[in-house]
């Protein structure tokens, strides 16, 4: 049979469609049966909706000052109460969610891309490995927060700079994960088989090693996402993060610190959302790991 006529080509693409459909179905089934992942995803969806819909449904702008109504507890009008400038806390926490989770997401994406490239090449070229890994050892010797503060001190308090600082602090972690799984993949027979075919290093790294390191990378990156949210909050709390008056969970906490004894809502609400976001991401990451890990597929033992 030679595939020349259209009917056969159609048949083939139909076949491809069917196989893909079948696989999607299986994935959906495994997703639904994975309680951790479903919970994590639901929480993340809620947080995302909250961050975008929150400022819309609230009648107050997060930046409008109303000194007459400062430090009011939660009421029907101000759901989360008001802060020390009389700003509506609900809309501040909601738009703070945009900032905090935006910083987290940017950090996650950036560390994933940069960490992946570094990890892959370090695993493949041993000389590069020595250089890059010693460099990342040096970076890892500093506590994340100190490193981030130092970078912020140099760059100045800007949301973009928060992303840069946290990304720099977290790249070594991701690079190491990618590197260690790439080192294992590199020794697999199918890589040797590709070398026997005369495949270029580029092809081996990007077409063969990369797809096999994606699962641990994605899982690790969701944890980085969570840590980035905490780090951003910490930086803003210390005054080295997102500058006032823009809200972020961290600087709302910072504002709340002074009045912690008379306005509990100023620390409880942003704090609760940080906890919620980090918990959601960790659940999501754990669930994803179970979904992607081939061993969770309980194979039948002989």
């Amino acid at each position: 049979m030679v595939i020349t006529n259209d009917a056969q080509v159609n048949e083939l693409s139909l076949l491809e469609k069917n196989v893909k459909k079948e696989r999607r179905k299986l994935l959906v089934k495994r997703f639904v049966s994975n309680k951790t992942l479903v919970t994590g995803t639901a929480m993340l969806v809620f947080l995302t909706l909250f961050s975008f819909a929150g400022p819309l449904i609230s009648q107050f702008s997060p930046l409008d000052i109303d000194p007459a109504n400062r430090l009011q507890g939660p009421t029907a009008e101000h759901w989360f109460g008001t802060d020390n400038f009389g700003r509506d806390l609900f809309s501040r926490v909601a738009s703070g969610a945009q900032v905090s989770m935006g910083v987290g997401l940017s950090v996650a994406v950036l560390t994933a891309i940069i960490g992946m490239v570094i990890g892959l090449y370090a695993a493949y070229y041993s000389i590069l490995d020595h250089v890059l890994m010693r460099f990342s050892d040096a970076l890892m010797a500093f506590p994340d927060i100190l490193l981030a503060i130092a970078i912020m001190a140099v760059l100045g308090p800007q949301p973009v700079n928060v992303v840069i600082a946290v990304t720099l602090a977290k790249i070594p972690v991701v690079a190491r994960i990618v590197r260690s799984s790439a080192l294992v993949i590199k020794e697999q027979t199918y890589i040797e088989a590709m070398r026997a075919q005369g495949a270029s290093s580029w092809r081996i790294i990007w077409r063969h090693i990369l797809p096999n390191t994606v699962s641990p990378l994605i899982v690790q990156v969701t944890y980085v996402f969570a840590i980035a949210i905490i780090l951003e909050a910490a930086l803003s709390f210390l005054g080295a993060g997102v500058p006032a008056p823009d809200p972020s969970w961290g600087n709302i906490l910072f504002d709340g610190k002074i009045v912690i004894y008379n306005a509990w809502w100023m620390t409880v609400f942003p704090g609760a959302f940080i906890v919620l976001a980090v918990l959601a991401l960790n659940l999501f990451g754990d669930g994803l790991r179970d979904l992607l890990d081939p061993h969770s597929n309980k194979a039948i033992k002989e």
Binding site: S33, N297, K298, I300, K301, E302
Partner: protein, 337 residues
């Protein structure tokens, strides 16, 4: 001794998995007596290892359900509490595994590991146990065992490790030894040495041995009786000469014919059994071998055969065993692809 050493009666082992329940062993029956070596052969997925692990009760009991009986000296092992099983495992029934490297703990010396089971089961002091360990190593043919007991598993070769495993398994003089592919990972010259050791020790201790293997050559060398398994069932059982001379089940025959013979005709194409072993969650209706069998009729596809006992003591699970007599009768019984 009125009871045989081990009677396995209608053993069923079920696993619950993500996809539902899987019956890995489905109604296996066989006996092992003192001084006898029973070979259990089959391809991967046939349930031979699960059978062994069921006898030792080594499987995770949360997700495993057993059925049937395993009578060891008349006692049903399946109904014993775990604490009683501890006394039996390694003391009365021992097991050796295929992979001697991962079956030995890398952080303890060989002597420590052998002595440990002696201390636990025979309540000897550490010093006496070590002496016994040396003796056991000598029995299994390890040169200068006094030195070897202080070495770590990674310091010795694969063949030596398997001897250490045997020494460990036999240190409490068990009545039954289960050997799960003990020589598969070894080279042929070393395999010959190990098989000889097992055989000699069997005679000496009058043990029963269950030899689990996929290698019919090994079976021919060391076994007295053979049970052939396919998809969780015993499909044929006979003494070793009968099995090799007149296999009655099409599968057994197919297996025997598909091995390249060291003395066979090189020009002739190898026989093959068509198709592949089906998955355990998709067991064929009727005879489990029917879809791959060239003798299969309508009946085979519909009705499952039972294990019939023939006058000569041979047992066959096939509707057509009367048609399949001598090997020479139907030379092209199994289709070549």
């Amino acid at each position: 001794m009125s009871h045989p050493l081990l009677e396995v009666k209608e053993l069923k082992t079920r696993f619950s998995t993500e996809k539902g329940t899987i019956t890995a062993v489905d109604g296996v029956t066989f006996n092992v007596d003192y001084g006898e070596t029973l070979g259990v052969v089959g391809e991967s997925g046939c349930g031979k290892s699960v059978t062994a692990e069921s006898i030792m009760r080594l499987l995770n009991e949360k997700s495993t359900k057993y059925g049937g009986e395993i009578l060891y000296k008349g006692r049903d092992l399946l109904s014993l509490p775990e604490s009683k099983m501890l006394d039996i495992r390694g003391n009365e029934i021992s097991m050796i595994f295929q992979d001697a490297m991962t079956s030995l703990n890398p952080v303890f010396t060989i002597g420590d590991q052998i002595a440990e089971s002696i201390v636990v089961h025979q309540k000897l002091s550490k010093k006496e146990a070590m002496k016994k360990a040396v003796e056991m190593l000598r029995v299994t043919g390890i040169p200068s065992p006094e030195k070897r007991i202080h070495e770590y598993p990674h310091e010795i070769s694969g063949g030596m490790r398997q001897r250490v495993m045997i020494a460990m398994a036999l240190s409490c003089q068990p009545s039954l030894l289960i050997a799960d592919e003990p020589t598969t990972a070894l080279d042929v010259t070393i395999q010959a040495q190990i098989l000889e050791v097992i055989n000699e020790l069997k005679e000496e201790l009058n043990m029963g041995v269950i030899m689990i293997t996929h290698d019919l050559g090994v079976v021919a060398e060391v076994c007295t009786r053979v049970a052939v398994m396919y998809l969780g069932q015993v499909i044929e059982e006979a003494d070793v000469d009968t099995l090799f001379d007149s296999p009655r089940h099409p599968y057994t025959r197919g297996l025997l014919q598909s091995i390249p013979k060291i003395n066979g005709d090189r020009e002739q194409k190898l026989h093959t059994i068509k198709g592949v072993v089906p998955a355990l969650d998709n067991v064929p209706k009727g005879c489990r071998f029917a879809p791959r069998c060239s003798f299969a009729t309508e009946k085979c596809l519909e009705e499952a055969p039972v294990l019939d006992e023939l006058p000569n003591g041979q047992k066959v699970r096939c509707w057509h065993h009367a048609r399949i007599k001598e090997r020479e009768d139907v030379p092209d019984a199994i289709e070549a692809t």
